[in-house]
Every structure is written in structure tokens, then in C-alpha cells.
């Protein structure tokens, strides 16, 4: 490929007079441009564009690992809407969104704390970010061990007499989903903290100082100046966080596989199981499509509302 580029250049883009030649020059530049982009574009077409497009017709077929494939119209969608497990998964994915306000409020507060000029504060920033770069598999193994009926949390609670029976954090239908949400918040805290920190550092310090000199309290400065300035960041982070919550998968896959008794079944695990557990590709694509439509409509609504109402600095 590089050879082709080199020979193309031999003609030389020397002259630049006259319109026809200008066009032919742009033609030559275009050939060159596509030669540079070709390898990447081939990969992207095959593994990124094609999946986005082909996912849609797939949802209207009964494609599976074995047997013939035929067009089945809306059958897959009807089946999904009549499947109680589908609705459990939808509900649990929606419940996961409850992580968002907790995560955002805690990260903003933490960002304010690490935005101070305390000695050693950089060390803490880096430390708080470590869970973000660690694989969810490793994190799940660590937390499953801590949540174990014989694990450290239960041992401590038993020792101090706060509970009489160990709590089955991951095996009790009452606690499993909440435990996964806790791990999600634990891992995400550092990420959002860092984004909000970037936001705080773009707030001109003089504004806060001026307000403080004017006699405003620190709490007032926070609510009247800092928070409004962070508004675009809050919009972005909340939107991103809602989308991640609706699309939660890793933590569930690694810790509970949807159990106990479907208590932690979420949408992405449902489509995954249908695709690679029972190999019902067509049906899984339909369930995935429903989820994609829900999330896309949701994020577009937030985006346009946000653009109108507050994604930009006030006013």
C-alpha cells in the first residue's frame, strides 16, 4: 500500500493554475487520502459500521446457530414483550439508574476536596482513580470475597453483635442488586471525580475569591458560583452515567450472572444470554434493538433538553 502512495506522488502536485487542473489535483489528493485511510476504514466498516446496520434486519429474523433463517416479522418483539424475564431485566436496568445521583453527588463533593491545595493531594487523586483502571473481573473477585458469608464484612458485623446470621449479600434476592450497585459506585467514583476536578479547575479562581472577600460564606460560594459553573459537566456526567447504568453488564456478568433467581438480571445480560447461551441471534438482536431505542430516545431527549436548558453556562 505504501508503494502505491509513493508512486502516486511521482506526478507531483506542482502546478496550481486553472480550474480543471485544480480539480484533478483534488482528485489526486483524494486518492492519496483514501490510500492513507484504507486499512483503518476496512476494519471499521467490517467491525463497527456493519454491526450497527446489520443489527437491525437481524432483529426481524429467526437467525440461530443451527437451521435455516427466515423473516419472522415482529414475532421476536412480541415474544420479548410477553416474556416476564425481559421485563425483570428492564426493571433491574432501570433500578440501576439510582446509582447516578449518588455517584454524581459523591464525586462532586470529592472533587471539591481534592481540588484544594493540601499537601499530598495529588497522591490521593491518583489513589482514588485506581479502581477505575482495574478490570471489573478483578474487582468482582475482590468484592465477592469481601461480601462472602464468611468474609470480612460479615465477620466484623458478627463480632460486634450487629447481626446474628451472616448476610448473603450476593445470594439473597433482597441484597444482591444493591450490592452490585454499591460496587458500581465504588468503581465509578474516581472517574467522575476526575471529570469534575477538570471542571473545577476551569472555574476562574478570582471569581470565588472576589465573592469570599465580599463576605460571602464558603457554602454560599459553592452553591452560587462553583455549582452553576459546573453545570455543563454535571449534564455530561449524568447523561453518561445514566447510559452506563442502563447498559450495565460487566459487574453482573462477573459477580452474579443475573442470580439469585433473576434478582440481578439486567437487559444486557438478557441479550447476552439469548445470544451466546441459547444462540437465538435473531431474538437477542430484537431485545437489543428495543434497549437501543430506549437508550437513544432517552439520551437524545436529555441532550436536547440540556442544550436548551442548561448544558451551557447559565443564562
Amino acid at each position: 500500500m505504501t508503494g502505491a502512495v509513493a508512486t502516486l506522488e511521482e506526478d507531483g502536485p506542482g502546478d496550481m493554475s486553472g480550474t480543471p487542473k485544480k480539480t484533478s489535483k483534488k482528485m489526486r489528493t483524494s486518492l492519496m487520502a483514501y490510500a492513507f485511510m484504507a486499512p483503518a476504514l476496512i476494519v471499521l466498516v467490517l467491525f463497527v459500521f456493519y454491526p450497527i446496520i446489520y443489527s437491525i434486519p437481524l432483529a426481524f429474523t429467526d437467525y440461530s446457530a443451527i437451521g435455516d433463517t427466515s423473516f419472522v416479522g415482529l414475532d421476536n418483539f412480541k415474544r420479548a414483550f410477553n416474556d416476564s424475564e425481559f421485563w425483570i431485566a428492564m426493571k433491574n436496568s432501570a433500578i440501576f439508574v439510582a446509582c447516578v445521583p449518588v455517584l454524581q453527588i459523591l464525586s462532586i463533593l470529592l472533587a471539591v476536596v481534592v481540588n484544594t491545595k493540601l499537601r499530598g493531594v495529588t497522591f490521593f487523586r491518583v489513589l482514588f482513580y485506581i479502581p477505575v483502571v482495574t478490570s471489573m473481573i478483578a474487582i468482582s473477585i475482590i468484592w465477592s470475597f469481601i461480601f462472602n458469608p464468611d468474609g470480612i464484612i460479615n465477620s466484623l458485623l458478627l463480632q460486634y453483635g450487629w447481626i446474628k446470621q451472616p448476610i448473603y449479600f450476593l445470594a439473597d434476592t433482597r441484597y444482591a442488586l444493591a450490592s452490585l450497585m454499591f460496587v458500581t459506585i465504588w468503581q465509578g467514583l474516581g472517574y467522575y471525580m476526575m471529570l469534575y476536578l477538570a471542571g473545577l479547575q476551569s472555574v476562574p479562581e478570582e471569581m470565588q475569591e472576589a465573592a469570599l472577600i465580599d463576605g460571602a460564606g464558603k457554602v454560599t460560594v459553592f452553591f452560587r458560583i462553583t455549582l452553576p459553573m459546573l453545570k455543563p459537566y454535571i449534564w455530561f456526567c449524568s447523561l453518561f452515567s445514566v447510559l452506563s447504568a442502563l447498559g450495565v453488564f460487566d459487574v453482573v456478568f462477573a459477580m452474579t450472572k443475573g442470580g439469585p433467581d433473576k434478582a440481578t438480571m439486567v437487559m444486557n445480560l438478557y441479550t447476552y444470554n439469548k445470544a451466546f447461551g441459547t444462540f437465538e441471534f435473531g431474538y437477542s438482536a430484537a431485545a437489543g434493538l428495543i434497549m437501543s431505542v430506549v437508550t437513544t430516545v432517552f439520551s437524545l431527549t436529555i441532550f436536547f433538553y440540556g442544550k436548551k436548558g442548561g448544558m451551557s453556562y447559565g443564562e
Binding site: 492513507f36 470529592l110 484544594t116 475482590i142 472517574y191 437477542s284
Partner: protein
């Protein structure tokens, strides 16, 4: 919390100095509390990895009878070196391809005036927003159609270009001046030569950013490998998930394997944290 808004206001009154110190103490207490919550689970796992299997639930952070048995065990019985080798092969090849293909692709997008430029740029952005409802399924069909199922390439190829890397590189090319490029063109240098002699040296900071992002993503990759590979070719994260299910009775081994899998990531992150964090933060601003 209001106290945390530390600013450079000069305060003379003694009472305020006292309050300032109290504020600092509170801030440090908060930082230490969060630090314990963040690092605690990791340290607990580290401590567990040195505990024998019979006292794996021992409640002290410093094991009474520390042992290296688990680390020996993961190498002898769990084939950890093989999984590490798998991870290294797929991570390194994946990073090299992404850096090469993405930086080639971004160059004309930043510096050339060509037919279809706006369309290509628009489609690239669209892929970042539009979800592939059944992306895993379609890629599974493609990979099995290409007869790559079970080979390292089944993992490397689909991840060999990230749109995010193209966007990062494009941004980097924008800040390189056109003068040297045009001068070399007049000197008759080939476009490819201009790219690697003039442009590439100027975008090295972006290269290091892409390398770090890719390293973290690829090292932690587990789902796609589980779908397309057999267990003996699993990378470390997929292997951990697999072994965690099968060797649960030997938790000490799993603890040691978990620690070994995390160490490279933490080292790379700490080493490049400034660069990495700046890019994460920069992505929001942009």
C-alpha cells in the same frame, strides 16, 4: 464541606487561623477515609494472597503465617504464565495496529482537502453515538465467516482500530504547522515520507496517550475473548473469571492471580497518570 473551598484569601485574624487548621484536619480525615475505602479492598486481597487456604478467612491484615504457596500454585497448577503470554500477545499486537492504522487514518482527515472528507468525519462521530444493538452477534458471525474463531486474531482484528484513537490523533495533527509539510512537498518528498518523517515525530505525545488507553482497555478485556476463544487462549481477565468459577475452593490461588493481573495496570497507570488523566479530562472539555 463548605470548608473545603480552600482559596488563597489572606486572613489575618487569629480566629480564622484556628478555623483554617480545623478545616484542614477535616479535609485530611475525609481524604483518609475515602483512601481506606478505595485501597482497602486491594490491600485485603493482597493480604489474602499470602494466607494459607486453611486460614483464608483469617481476620487480620497481616497474616500470622504468611506463605508464598499461592504464588507458586498459580504458576504450577493454574498455568498463569500461559494466560499472561496470551494477554501480552493480544495487547501488544492490538496496540501496534491501533497506533499505526489510526494515525494513518487521522492524517488526511486533519491535513488534506479531499472528496468525502465531511462524510467520513461525520460517520466516524456517528459510530460513537449510535449503539450497535447486536454488535457482538454480528461480529461473531463475521469472525466465524473469516474462519478466525479460536485464534488470537479473532480478538486482535476487531479491536485493531479505535475511532477514539483516530479522533485523538486528528486533534494532534491539527496542532502541527503546515509549513514544514509544504516545504517537504516542494522538495519532492513522497506523501508517505512526509507522514513518517515530518508528522509522526510531532504527534508522539498523542501516541503515548493512545498506548496507555489501549493498554488498559486491552489488558482488562474479557467478554469478547470469552466469546471467541477457547480457555487455553484466554487473556488474564477472562482467565480469572474462568478460574474463579472452577477453582473457588482454592481461593488463595485466585487471590494471587488477581494480584498478579492488577499489578501491570497499576504500574502503567501510576507511571503515566498525568498524561492519562489529562486526556480523560480533556475528552469532556472537547
Amino acid at each position: 464541606m463548605g470548608n473545603s473551598l480552600q482559596t488563597g484569601v489572606v486572613t489575618v485574624k487569629k480566629t480564622t487561623t484556628g478555623r483554617k487548621i480545623a478545616g484542614k484536619v477535616i479535609l485530611y480525615l475525609i481524604l483518609i477515609l475515602v483512601a481506606v475505602l478505595c485501597a482497602g479492598p486491594f490491600l485485603w486481597m493482597l493480604s489474602t494472597s499470602f494466607k494459607g487456604n486453611e486460614n483464608i478467612y483469617e481476620m487480620s491484615l497481616f497474616p500470622r503465617h504468611p506463605t508464598f504457596d499461592n504464588y507458586v500454585g498459580v504458576v504450577q497448577f493454574l498455568d498463569l504464565p500461559i494466560y499472561i503470554w496470551n494477554t501480552v500477545v493480544m495487547t501488544v499486537l492490538g496496540i501496534v495496529l491501533d497506533v499505526l492504522l489510526a494515525s494513518l487514518c487521522a492524517y488526511p482527515l486533519a491535513k488534506f482537502d479531499f472528496y468525502g472528507k465531511k462524510i467520513i468525519a461525520g460517520v466516524l462521530i456517528a459510530t460513537q453515538i449510535l449503539p450497535a444493538a447486536a454488535g457482538l452477534i454480528v461480529n461473531y458471525i463475521t469472525i466465524s465467516g473469516l474462519r478466525l474463531m479460536g485464534s488470537y486474531w479473532a480478538v486482535i482484528l476487531p479491536g485493531s482500530v479505535a475511532v477514539f484513537s483516530i479522533i485523538l490523533f486528528r486533534q494532534a495533527y491539527f496542532s502541527v504547522s503546515n509549513e514544514v509539510m509544504e516545504a517537504s512537498r516542494i522538495d519532492g518528498a513522497s506523501e508517505f515520507k512526509i507522514w513518517y518523517k515530518v508528522m509522526v515525530p510531532q504527534i508522539l505525545p498523542a501516541v503515548s496517550t493512545v498506548v496507555i488507553f489501549d493498554f488498559i482497555n486491552k489488558w482488562n478485556n474479557f467478554l469478547w475473548p470469552i466469546i471467541v476463544l477457547n480457555p487455553e487462549k484466554y487473556p488474564i481477565a477472562a482467565a480469572l473469571n474462568y478460574l474463579g468459577g472452577t477453582f473457588n475452593f482454592q481461593f488463595g490461588y485466585i487471590a494471587a492471580a488477581t494480584i498478579i493481573s492488577i499489578i501491570p495496570i497499576i504500574l502503567v497507570f501510576i507511571f503515566f497518570q498525568k498524561n492519562y488523566i489529562n486526556s480523560v479530562a480533556g475528552a469532556v472539555k472537547g
